[in-house]
Amino acid sequence: MLEIRDLHVKFHNSNREAVGGVSYTIEDGEIQGLVGESGSGKTVTAMSIAGLLPRKQCSYSGQILLDGMDLLHADRNELRKIHGRHIGVVFQEPMSSMNPLMKVGHQVEEVLLLHTNMTAEERRRKAIETLDQVELNNPEEVYEKYPHELSGGMLQRAMIAAAIIIRPKLLLLDEPTTALDVTIQAQILELLKRLNKEYDASMLFISHNLNVVRKLCTEVAVMQRGLLVEEGKTEQVFYNPQHEYTKRLIAAIPTRNKRKEEC
Amino acid sequence: MKHLNGYLKTGLILTGFLTVFIVLGFFWTPYDPTAMDAKKFLAPSLQHLMGTDNFGRDIFSRVLKGAGTTFGIAVATVAIGAVLGTLVGALTGFFGGIVDDVLMRINDALTAFPSILLALVIISLLGPGKKYNVVLALGAVFVPSFARVTRTAFAGLRDVNYVKSARLMGASNSRILWVHILPNTMNVLLPALTIGFNNAVLAEASMSYLGIGVTPPDASLGYMLSEAQSMLTRAPWYALSTGLTIILLVFGVGLIGEGLQRRSGEVS
């Protein structure tokens, strides 16, 4: 469904390639994990898929194929039809990723405004329905709230609602739980699992936290310094890591201490 | 020295050029600026670069002298405003506390007022039409804005690591303030100086134009413009040359400020 072929990205202000030749596939309905420390190139890879790469400030090559269409070299107008419609993104910090001056409901339904001909009332009904699906209580009230009136966990649910409202083929999750408390984190992971089962959406889950990835993903890929060093079934990678770097990452997972995990 | 961008380069050249003329004007002018020996209302020529006025005085010489007065007042004003403002801002920003709160509330109230109005009030209290009162009034008016800029910069640097380590090594407060922090606030202070200078030039010119700033026998560009307005039909070059001198002076310094801000990445 999504296929990355030999992706290279290099920013003009850096002398090292941020992504140095990554090839990688996500199948339909799969939850893929992408793990690595900050600076490993995982976020740049995700941004390339989401079309958020600042094209003027970097050079890039390779292909990113979504059902056969090359996202890396498509022009902006074509990309705009893909964004939101076929690829939904959930970012790390829900508070700053939401427009502070727009009602949550309007942000949740924005994708419908951009990609469908639904009327305002239809969009509103759909938004409330989706807010309910991400397990927010009183969705009608949440719809009318501004971001600062909700908690981080509630906002992240709303962000997920905004990303899935139109049922995109691919959901990109860029560290969606990192900024949240551990209990909330667990709830969000459960929600994502449920959504994956119900809609059969593919997800790419990006995290520096192996533990979280292990709970959620069926497949995992590990990145280091712009390169993909290991990939495979999650259990396989965990019990039988091949690469030195993966071994170190796994060894670093705190086993007993279940407190909030910082970056 | 980081590289000079286009704004900075153009600004420095323009301002440098004008400064040379102004400094020259302190010592030498082509004619005596008060002598009335040429013909009245002569158009600009090689003998009289900017022509002559209604008394037959050489306008170029008068502009040189006037620009000197304006320039001098602006520099003195900014010096008063910057030194006192930096002192207040540094102390309140560094030590914080209730003094900080009170001073900054007063500051808020004062900066909310247009500088000319405040300066006019002070001038009317001190007595209009005297050069030193203009400097005092404008200087006082510019203290709050400098204090605010400095305070923000000092408060921001109070807990930075190199300040902490200086403190651990036993540096005194005053050493930390003036040796460790002050040089690092230059990114903010230098552009503030250029903005202050321009405000001072414009404010002085306005007040002198109104006849409550610098008055004869001292000449300033603002007062000369009010003279020029009355003979606009006979000698339009008088108003034009005086006005353009003000514009060039402010434009040049403005470009320097823009260049400085861009160099330190304040403006994108």
Binding site: G51, L52, N77, R80, K81, H83, G84, R85, G88, V89, S96, S97, M98, N99, L101, Q107, E110, V111, L114, Y146, E149, A162 | Y7, R105, A109, A112, F113, P114, I116, L117, L120, V121, I123, S124, L125, P128, L202, A205, S206, Y209, L210, G211, I212, G222, L225, Q229, L232, T233, P236, A239, G243, I246, I247, L249, V250, F251, G254, E258, V267, S268
Partner: protein
Amino acid sequence: MKYAARRIAMLLLTMVIVSLLAFVAFDIISGDPATAMLGTQATPEKIEALREEMGLNRPLVVRYGEWLLGFFTGNLGTSYSYKLPVWQLIAPKVGITLCLSVISFLLIVVISIPLGVRSARYAGGRLDGAGTAINQLGMAVPPFFTGILLTWLFSTTLHWFIHGQFPELTKNPAGALKYLLFASVSIAIPRVAMTVRMLKSTILGEMQKNYVRTAISRGNDRKGVLYRHVLKNALVPVVTFLAQTMAEIVAGGIVVEQVFAIPGLGRLLVASIANRDYPVVQAIVVILAFWVVLAGTIADLINQQIDPRLQLGGDA
């Protein structure tokens, strides 16, 4: 509602402080108004009689209270130089200065907002540097110089208005507004330049924020990002800036009224400062200050409508 009430209470408090400062400062500095009115040759008895008549022998607080009330009752004392009630001098001029400020303000808003948005959209482009330079040049143009050029062009040469003959606002409003329009242009030029610069840097700053990334990821084009998301967020600092601009318009107005010979408050203020006519100066300063503080209050109230986060923590 609570916010509005608090904000208005603050406005009143500020005005009390400002007026108190003005009153005390002028009271200390101005010396004896009775001497000022009668001249130094007057006999001590005469001066004492006038002092008694003017109520100058009463305590400062009582006189301040009476003076403050005067802004509502119209009793603001007597001008030294015109020997007329201050209120009678000021009243006809308030409207003129108000009109001048409002026209200038509208000009600035109407011109600078579209220009600012445009310059932000084309930031980094080929004309960006030239735009910045023109902007700096605009800021360098003193309003009184523009004023002189405009009177020269439109009055002396083209006779579109007659310099020095300001039509009465009530009898010939169209003529008066036309006259004021020229003055407004000269006030507006440097302010437009500053507002454009401010708007541009605010929009560019907002463009760096995370929510913009979210908006792009949903498939918004540049226009959608700018108009649906960024503009509203950029508005709050711009509204605050425009309120400060109102203060500068008032200041610019003082000078420009002189250039165009507009019989407004500014012109009276300048004349009164030169004459040391303190009762008039005092009253005008407080009125202009009120106008400025009021603009700030209105800006805060507007911002509170734009940004719901300002509901509780709103400060001055």
